[in-house]
Each structure stands twice: as C-alpha cells, then as structure tokens.
Amino acid sequence: MPLSEWVGAQLPALVILVPLTAAPVAFLGVRLGRPVALVSALMSQPLAIALALEVAREGVLRYEIGGWGAPLGIDFVVDGLAATMILVTSVIGLLITVYASGYFTDQDRYRFFWPLWLFLWASLHALFLSGDAFNLYVCLELVSMSAVALVALTARREALVAAMRYMLAAILGSLFYLLGVALLYAAFGSLDMATLRGAIRPDVTGQAAFALMTVGLLLKTALFPLHFWLPPAHANAPSPVSAALSALVVKGSFYILIRLWIDVGSPSVAPGTAHLLGVLGSVAIVWGSIQALRQERLKMLVAYSTVAQIGYLFLLFPLVRAGGVAAADAWTGGVFHAVSHALAKSAMFLAAGTVLARLGHDRIEGVGGLSRRAPLTAMAFGLAGVTMMGLPPSGGFVAKWQMISASVLSGEWWWAVVIVAGGLLAAGYVFRVIGRFLGREEAGDREADTGRSPRTMEWTALALALGALVLGVAGQPLLDLIPIGAPALVAGIGVTP
C-alpha cells in the first residue's frame, strides 16, 4: 500500500499518536523537550488539516481500534465537530508551543512542562475522537491530570492551592461521570455512544445517569455556579498553560456534554433541563463579566472572562430544541463560538503572559503606556477583545449572529437579549485594559519594564488574535465543516419522540 494511502486510512490514529509518542520521548531526554514538542506540533498540522479535508470529502469517518468494531471494541468517530476541534487544537497548540519555547527561559527548571503539555495535547485529540462513553472517562482523566500538573508547575503557593482545588473538582467531576457510565451500561448494555443512542430510554435509570454525568461535566466545564475553581487555576498557571486551559481544556468536557445531550440522549432530555442550562449560562455571562470588571490583575480578568464566555456555549441546549433552521443555526453558531473564543482567549492569555514577563506583575493599574513599548502585545489583546465583544468582522460576531438568529427563529428572543448584553459587558472589561495600555505611564512603570519579550512571544499572541478576527470573513470552510454528521436533532429532523 502506498504511504499516502496508508496515512489517509490511519489519520484518526495518527493525530493522537504523534503527540502521544512525543510525550514520553520529551520526558526521557532532559534536553529533548523543546525540540520534540516543536517537531510534534509541526507534524500535527498537516495531519489535522488532512483529517478535516477527509471529513469534508467523505463525511463521518469511523475507525475500529483493534479491528473489533463497537460495541465490543472502541471506535474513533470523526464528524465535522470532531474534525473542527482537532483542527483548532492543533493550530492553537502549535502557537502555544512556539510561545512556550520563548517563555520558559529556565529550561532545566521547567523541563517537565514539555512532556506534560504533549500529554495534554494528545489527550485532547483522543477525547475529541472517542466514540465510547468509558474511553471518554479515561480521556477526561488524562486531560485533568496533565492540566492540573501544568497549573502546579511553578510551585508558587497560589498556583499549588489553585491546582489542588482544580484537582479535587476534576476528580469529583470524573466520578460523577463514571457513575453515569455504570448506570448506562447496566441499563442499556453498551458503552458505544452510537449504540446507546438507539438503546437509551428516558426511564429512572436513564435520567439518573444523565443527571450524574451532566453534573460531573458541568463541574469540569466550570459552568456557574460550579466555576469556583477556574479563575485561580487559570490565572495562576504559567501563561502558556493558562491559554491552553481556557482555550481548549474547558471545551473538552463541554464537548462530551453536547455529544451526550444532543447526540446520544435527545429522547430522554427533558425540555426544562435544557432551559435550566440556558439560564445558568446566562447568569454565567452576566456574573463572569461583572467579576472581570472588578479584577485588579490582568490574568484574573481574563480568567473571569472565560467564566462568562463559557456561558454562551450553554445557550446551545435550549436553542437546538426548536429544531429546523433555528437548531442548525444554534449548532453551528455555538461551535463557532467555541472556536473563536479559543483563538481569542489564548491570544489574551499569551499577551497577558508577555506583560507579566516584562513587568514582573500583571496589575492592571501598572500597565500604563505599554502600547508604546510593546505595541504588538497591546494590539493582540485589543484584536482578541474585538472577538470577545462580538464586533464585526470577527469570528465572535459570526457566532453571536447565528445564535441571535436561532433565538429569534425559535421565538425565544430573551436569549438574544442576554447575548447582546454580554457583548456590552465584554466591551467594558476589554476597554478597561486597552484604556490602560494606551494611557499615561505612571512614575516607575517604565523602569519596571525589563523589555524582555522575545519576538516569538509577541507574534504568536498576535497571530491567534488575527486568526479569531479573520475567522469572521474567511470562516466559511469551517461553517461548512461543523454541520457534517451533526445529530439528527440539529440536522432539521426535529425532536425524536
């Protein structure tokens, strides 16, 4: 078999195996970490693109691990949503890797960053491709374990305690999820999501399983009021890690949640619960934004912005229930929001990391005049802010437009009000920072600036922010990819009775 054909057939396995093989190698060789991570990051790009093209051309792909086939074995399932998430993870992962190679100057002290980061990357890919409820539990644990270890990496007091809080929440979330898996298996006899879709019944067990899994995943996704662990963890992690956590890791558990609710469980989802999730999402948007406005530290502000932006994702649940065009718009809009937020938020955290590296602190009142000394970083933050506010022509605008359209079409206009209000609040906290960047230098601000910000750090943040912006005008291929193989509920067939 020619190599290209073999690679084509093995794509779903290869996107996981590249970082998964790189991780132990980066651990074995003390000085290999950075080069191995860069090679793995570069190799991931063509693989992720090829996988997306394959899905765009052929539709949903299934890959039988071990050749057994589900439900006896485990299958990879690659639909438009999975391919999109892999693509986004790969692109952001590459830029974070480049940024991190400039950020960690003490390579010996932070040598464990590389294997941990590669494991995190591999486990995110594994999570997005898995079609098996128990395998998803293992993936969730891999993601959490690597994420927590990365948060604790600096071993500063705040980081250690934040990591502990995160760890406890993550383990508890996994246990809730695992209990749900036990109930699903006991009642419906399978772990394969596609098989479960046909077997699941909205009886006592089915509903209890869903309730437990949902609570566990909400805890991991940090939906208000289960968000308590997120701001300290995301703000106190090293900045490349903060970027990965806010952009990608919270999307992992959210991804399982939409697979469960919209893909597997459409018959057993009570409409009231979907609306409850929408309401919690709305509260998250308002509460997270107000908290962001009140923060004194830049990274805390950005972290609370994540709490708010996660809220938007949950408007998906009530909106897809309308069926028809509204559901299709909500699905594409919601996923598109996840993508543009991932790009913009990683840009913001990387920019904040550069501020920290230069000033030695990230107090917002102390960043006056930075736009003249580090224009690229200030610009990266500002452009990412455009997406966060949802202004045209950004990806955030397209996403919010689709979600507003869905809420108008479904007759539930109040979600549109929340979306618009959230944009205004985002403008408030983004301009608070931009205003400082552009504003007057206080005495001593310039002296505090070490000027240490390698080009790689400034440009990667800017590239991500530009990516989020360009998504608004050149995002059509992605908008076409996302609905491929979308659940029946979304594809216009409506709610199955």
């Binding site: 100057t105 644990e141 007091r157 502990m164 760890m167 406890l168 990391g353 920290l356 602190h361």
Partner: protein, 110 residues
C-alpha cells in the same frame, strides 16, 4: 434484594459518604481520602453490575473497567497527596485556605 443489589446500593452509600466528607473536611488529607471512599463506592457499583448477568461467570466488562478505574485513582491519589504535601511544605498548612494566610509572591516568567 439480591446479592448484586446489596453491592450496588452499598456502593451508592459509600459514594454519598465520600461526597459528604469531601465537602465538610477542610484538611486536604481528609479530602483526598474522602474522594477515595467515593471512588471505592463507584467501583462497588461496577462490581455489583457485573454480578447481575445470568450464569456463574460475572460480566468481564465492568471488572475490566474497575481495574482501569483503580489505576486511574491510584495515579490521581498519588499526585493529590504529593500536591498536599508540597502545599504543607510551602505554607505550613494543608487546607485550601493556605494561599490566603501568607504574603502572595509575584508571578513571573522564569
């Protein structure tokens, strides 16, 4: 109530106790142990589920899942304990309030 039910229900009770302990015990060692009790409960549910199939041999699938779950729990427990100990080393306390009790250092890229 069958023997399998006894296991699953006992598992459910253990999980409940673990959850209660996790919330109410401030000391990190207790919290990690509470999570272990809860994990034990989840595994007992699996073991009970495995016993419900007809015939003498239990369902191997839940057994395999428990083994995987145990290894995952061992891993996360070991890490959580190392983290708790490091927090104690740095702050002299082992609670989630440890960070508030001392002067915070500046975050800086190194």
């Amino acid at each position: 109530m069958t023997q399998a039910d006894l296991y699953t229900v006992a598992g459910g009770v253990l999980f409940t106790i673990g959850l209660y302990g996790l919330i109410t015990r401030p000391h990190l060692l207790y919290k990690v142990l509470a999570l272990n009790v809860a994990s034990g409960g989840v595994f007992m549910v699996f073991v009970g589920v495995a016993r419900r199939v007809p015939g003498p041999a239990p369902d191997p699938l839940p057994h395999a899942m428990v083994l995987t779950g145990i290894v995952v729990t061992v891993s996360s427990t070991a890490y959580a304990l190392a983290l708790a100990k490091r927090i104690f080393t740095e702050t002299g306390m082992a609670t989630l309030d440890s960070a508030d009790t001392m002067e915070g250092g500046e975050d800086a890229a190194e």
